[in-house]
Subunit: 155 residues, 2 copies
């Protein structure tokens, strides 16, 4: 009956559905001419808002800086992002999105959105409203997680 118990029930349910949805969406991103791995999508999404340093990006997406560095290289070769050495601190690199990158991102978003829209289309209006509420709550709950990633990083 405790709040914690309810949170656990929700967690149990969430645990079942999220990985599945993640995989379904990933499959959507693999269909186009050029398959786009989830990490590419995520990077593009971030840098589309504003440039980020490599370290920032790696932390946000829970991968090592080394892995991301190589990923950025691939993204750069495709012409979707560019590296820019910082002037204030010449050790850091800023990742920017390019015109092409922006375009690719928009395409992917449209495709994913179309797919989800179709899947949700036969829900009742009432269900859609409730789902919207749930998503908002979820986004709120994860807003911390979005910028701070729990690792055994010190404190």
């Amino acid at each position: 009956m405790s709040d914690t118990q309810i949170a656990r029930d929700v967690a149990r349910k969430a645990k079942r559905i999220f990985p599945l949805m993640g995989r379904v969406m990933e499959a959507q991103m693999r269909v186009p001419t050029i398959p786009v791995p989830p990490v590419h999508f995520h990077v593009l999404n971030r840098v589309d808002v504003q440039p980020h340093t490599l370290t920032e990006l790696a932390e946000v997406m829970s991968v090592s800086a080394a892995s991301l560095s190589r990923t950025i290289t691939v993204l750069e070769e495709r012409g979707w992002v560019s590296r820019e050495r910082s002037d204030e601190d010449r050790r850091v690199v800023k990742i920017n999105i390019t015109q092409d990158g922006h375009q690719i991102l928009a395409d992917m978003e449209t495709r994913t959105e179309d797919f989800l829209t179709q899947t949700l289309a036969h829900l009742s209006q009432d269900d859609l409203d409730k789902l919207m509420d749930g998503l908002d709550i979820l986004i709120g709950a994860f807003s911390d997680q979005m910028s701070h990633v729990p690792s055994d990083t010190n404190t």
Copy 2:
């Protein structure tokens, strides 16, 4: 104004949150001694309910049978699943979970659940209820993609 428009709004929101959550959960699964890629988790989840053929599994998780075949080999080497040639049709292979596989799955589920529970713990009771409703609706909408999952009765 149309239902479709509302579905699209929901889709837009869902598209933003799910990939992120997927990645956060993946990161959770990478922390243990033996990193478990999402696809392993997914396979284990399926075969824990009942044995499946390789083709069935590949279809459900939206990857090619070839990719999955190799993945199954890795899982087999780790001793988490076993292959069993079918007697009715000797072309097909049935994938079964082992004791160790079941144990690993349980560990992962616990870890993921703990993590989600913590993340959701500070939500109000009302929000948790709404979130639960949203998840149920979502599971319903994706039930095609989930084929067997709703079999987990207990409401």
